[in-house]
């Protein structure tokens, strides 16, 4: 048994119990609760998308790889303009980028094959992980950017 996982388990229990309770209270139709539940669900779904398509380059801790793959923690690329961020996923990213004095040169492939919902979820996950805290991205926002996307 890996005891390092114990805190994770405890956290999982709390989250799970909370989510059940939240579901119960959801019937009271408190708008704030509704958003919070929604955000949680989107983050959870986004984590799965991240594990399949992003983790090998950006790493489990979201800190990337020196010189190659940029970090996702506390950068304006992630926390700033939503349209720019959505476009990175849709079009990929093929420029050298400097973040906190370090340059990163690996190309990122276009991930336009992901559904609007998947892109919204993974970006919401990234914007609320690795020490980040930023508003969610919705499938509707992704849809709009995709429709107006000029490569």
């Amino acid at each position: 048994m890996d005891f390092k996982k114990a805190p994770l388990l405890v956290a999982a229990v709390i989250l799970f119990t909370n989510s059940l309770q939240a579901q119960t209270k959801h019937r009271a139709k408190t708008p704030v609760r509704h958003t919070a539940v929604h955000l949680k669900a989107s983050i959870a779904a986004g984590q799965k998308v991240f594990a399949q398509y992003c983790v090998s380059c950006h790493q489990v801790d979201g800190l990337g790889v020196p010189h190659m793959n940029p970090p996702l923690a506390k950068t304006t690329y992630v926390l700033g303009d939503k349209t720019k961020l959505i476009k990175i996923v849709l079009n990929g990213f093929n420029e050298d980028v400097e973040i906190n004095g370090e340059t990163y040169s690996n190309s990122m492939a276009s991930h336009d094959f992901l559904k609007d919902q998947e892109i919204a979820d993974v970006l919401t996950y990234v914007r609320n992980s690795f020490g980040n805290k930023a508003p969610a991205i919705t499938p509707a926002q992704v849809k709009t950017v995709r429709a107006n996307n000029k490569k």
Partner: protein, 436 residues
């Protein structure tokens, strides 16, 4: 309602119990990563400088915080030239003088960043990501005119992926330059899931191989060179074997088998495949990229999935076989044939390989960040490789997360037979010596 509350308590409890049982079973399974532990011996002796080394060896940090120290050359006088990935204060090459176990920066020169540096026949050769230069040396092997290098090769492709131009020389006046493929697997769209491999991969015309140029001819372009070997995705560590007068290279194998082909490769397989291969090169050889990769567990050349492979179908019938296959993604950045007499006899003419360490194993633990020794006999690998110097990364957790403190990159042999290792993460130079 009561039942629901009870359920909300019981369910997670059941989940935990299940998870504990699952984890316990899992940890009893034999490791999948057999190839990671094929090393015959693991050094456990504290060799100094935070490194673990075989008994009798010791290490010293002779310089640190130099910048992105890539390849290194040590002159017969014991002075050091080291190449920086990016110029620091406008200087891309540092010249250090050693006294005892300390090396002090005497000068810096060369305005370009890059990887390669090599001393041969009265010249210092150094590469940027597009060009190769040389500087004339005096009798003490000091650069005579640091501001005016001669341009030997120019106009090489550098497209932000595998851009490092590693260099080495033979004994017949030839310069060898690695021109890495600006691609992972020659897909129509690099690294995009579902994008197929390009037929007749056009990258191979101008990259994905080793080019041979004249070591003393100025301003050579592609047309002046010879594509000495092809089908090599990216090579950083390579060296001329003096025993059989042959080029040996270490290839960086492809990334992202699981990301791109989850139907054929799980994350564990993707972490250790494909092999990082050592090839013995003859002029005109083809090592098979991007059409095949080498699976070190099946001991087979397999068809690349971008070209119809599935992790089982064989491929690369026209490609040479590797002479050694190391586990995947360890990133061999330095190769050095040891010709000194200071180390014990078994090391003579064998190969040291500096593994920069992986990144493409996530979410599995990262690995590498060590210097390996591969024994050779009569110019051919003979016997099992072993980890020679370990501990560069720091703790086991730092290795697993990839947040390594130091990352081995360049190797050089000193006039007294000591081994020099650079770290391009913190700009450290290690000197490893043997005392009976």
């Amino acid at each position: 309602m009561k039942n629901r509350k009870l359920l909300s308590l019981l369910l997670p409890m059941a989940a935990i119990t299940g998870f504990i049982l699952f984890s316990a079973c899992k940890s009893n399974e034999p490791s999948n990563n057999n190839n990671d532990t094929t090393a015959t011996t693991t050094p456990t002796t504290d060799g100094g400088a935070g490194l673990k080394l075989p008994a009798g060896f010791n290490a010293a940090v002779i310089a640190d915080k130099l910048g992105g120290t890539r390849e290194i050359a040590v002159t017969p006088q014991g002075d050091i030239y080291v190449k920086l990935s990016r110029p620091k204060n406008g200087k891309g090459i540092l010249f250090l003088h050693q006294e005892g176990d300390k090396a002090t920066v005497k000068t810096g020169f060369g305005t370009f960043g890059g990887t390669g540096v090599y001393v041969k026949n009265g010249y210092l050769y150094a590469s940027s990501d597009e060009e190769v230069f040389r500087f004339k040396l005096n009798a003490q092997n000091e650069v005579i005119n640091p501001a005016q290098p001669e341009k030997i090769v120019t106009g090489l492709l550098s497209r932000r992926e595998h851009e490092a131009k590693a260099i080495t020389l033979d004994n017949d006046g030839n310069l060898y330059v690695n021109i890495g493929a600006y691609s992972n697997a020659c897909q129509v769209e690099d690294r995009k899931k579902g994008s197929p491999g390009q037929k007749g991969c056009p990258i191979l015309d101008s990259a994905g191989g080793i080019w041979q140029f004249k070591a003393d001819k100025l301003n050579q372009h592609y047309g002046d060179g010879v594509r000495y070997a092809t089908g090599l995705r990216n090579v950083v560590g390579f060296d001329w074997n003096q025993q059989n007068n042959q080029l040996f290279v270490m290839q960086h194998g492809r990334d992202q088998l699981h990301d791109l082909f989850p139907q054929y490769f799980d994350t564990k397989q993707s972490a250790i495949l494909p092999a990082e291969c050592m090839y013995a090169i003859k002029k005109g050889d083809n090592a098979g990229w991007p059409y095949m990769y080498y699976d070190q567990e099946q001991h087979k050349k397999l068809l690349m999935p971008e070209y119809g492979g599935d992790g089982k179908k064989e491929g690369g019938q026209d490609a040479i076989d590797p002479v050694v296959a190391f586990p995947g993604h360890l990133a061999p950045n330095g190769l050095l044939f040891y010709t000194g007499s200071q180390f014990p006899e078994k090391y003579k003419n064998g190969a040291f390989i500096a593994f920069h360490g992986s990144w493409n194993r996530a979410p599995e633990p990262q690995a590498g960040y060590f210097v390996v020794f591969q024994p050779f006999k009569d110019g051919k690998p003979a016997g099992q490789w072993e980890v020679f110097a370990d501990g560069f990364a720091g703790t086991a957790a730092q290795t697993a997360s990839g947040r390594a403190e130091h990352r081995p990159c360049g190797l050089a042999q000193g006039p007294d037979g000591s081994l020099y290792v650079t770290d391009d993460n913190q700009g450290t130079i290690y000197k490893i010596s043997y005392k009976k």
